[in-house]
Subunit: 191 residues, 2 copies
DNA sequence: GACAAAGTGTTCGAAAACCAACGTTTAATT
DNA sequence: AATTAAACGTTGGTTTTCGAACACTTTGTC
């Protein structure tokens, strides 16, 4: 079953409209009529696709979350291995044209639509899985270091989102220093 | 008679698709199937709106030409009066979101679809109308100076197109110098 | 509490777009 | 000159979208 192009286009227009409106108003202030007006769709069509504006928002967040989930392991390992430049380039390639959308959605924190929280949660799981083997031997609580690592990575991610393609050696160095400090707490012997 | 939104959207998508394709191929290399594929419209719909790809192109050029025709006199007078900064700002305001489209169309020179030529022709008429009263008293041929002035103005226009919002004093100065030189040929007494 | 105004969600006939199929034209290949 | 493939332009049945109407709820005002 292939989707009719009209459905694809309608959803594309509606989603783009919501993103545009989110740069001007809060979710609560945006009406379905607003979305339809800026997306050039009729209200009846909107309701043929989404239950309400929150359904639309949750859908968009879910799509980006799924995408990130598929790439998170590779990016995580690059961070662990200190390949900061490759990480940044990879992140940018993954996002490509979706960057503006992700950037806007990162500012939205609704109950079941919080992209930033989802990203953080996925990264935290990676850290926990990574730390687990060392857990018992560690001086510092494993959870603390997992959270710490997650925060460093979220910082890299948000910086990349905001600044785009940059080959800034100073940034890479700074991140690498923090990375080493975190890893030192986990693997005192190595590194 | 108001146009159905669907017509507006379809035409918008088709036009945008052509612009995108024009950055990759020549007009001749672009097929109707190409346009339909990147605009997510069916071929039958394309033919419901346009006779062929040249009809589409001519339509787009005509729209921008009409727009420019309505603004050309104001912009022309700003040039004459040496208000270069106001001219550049005005041009940018006129073009707004159409700038990328105009930029691409400026590179296309088909028989009945040549936006650059249309702009030049409109400006030339302004210069001829402006010079006419001085014509007999002038040392230099009126036509030559009209062409000269037109070329200077086209240069400003294309520079603005390419570089966008810039408050560059050096550029404004350079243009102003040339402007004075041209006007001096027309009005030896004044200035 | 009564009222108007604005937003919500649903319904249905009309209009537009889709898409697959068709025969035709054009251009390149052998 | 014959053959093939690709692009052209047209057709008709199917699906989607539109737009206007409707009742209902929420919000703010007198």
């Amino acid at each position: 079953m292939v989707k009719d192009v009209r459905k694809i286009k309608t959803e594309r227009d509606i989603q783009q409209a919501l993103l545009t409106l989110l740069t001007q108003k809060t979710v609560r202030q945006i009406t379905v009529a607003d979305i339809c007006q800026t997306s050039l769709t009729s209200r009846s069509t909107f309701y043929a696709h989404y239950i309400d504006k929150y359904d639309l928002l949750e859908n968009m967040v879910a799509v980006h979350t799924t995408m990130f989930a598929q790439q998170v392991h590779v990016r995580f390992m690059q961070m662990i291995d200190g390949q900061i430049d490759e990480l940044v380039q990879g992140l940018l390639a993954d996002m490509a044209d979706k960057r503006p959308a992700i950037q806007i959605l990162f500012t939205i924190h609704e109950d079941h639509a919080d992209l930033q929280a989802n990203f953080r949660s996925l990264l935290l799981k990676e850290w926990q899985r990574f730390i687990a083997p060392y857990g018992d031997a560690m001086q510092v609580p494993a959870d603390l270091m997992a959270t710490m690592g997650t925060n460093v990575q979220m910082t890299v991610l948000e910086w990349t989102l905001a600044h785009g393609d940059v080959s800034n050696a100073a940034v890479a160095d700074a991140i690498d220093t923090i990375r080493k400090a975190v890893l030192l707490q986990i693997q005192p012997a190595t590194n």
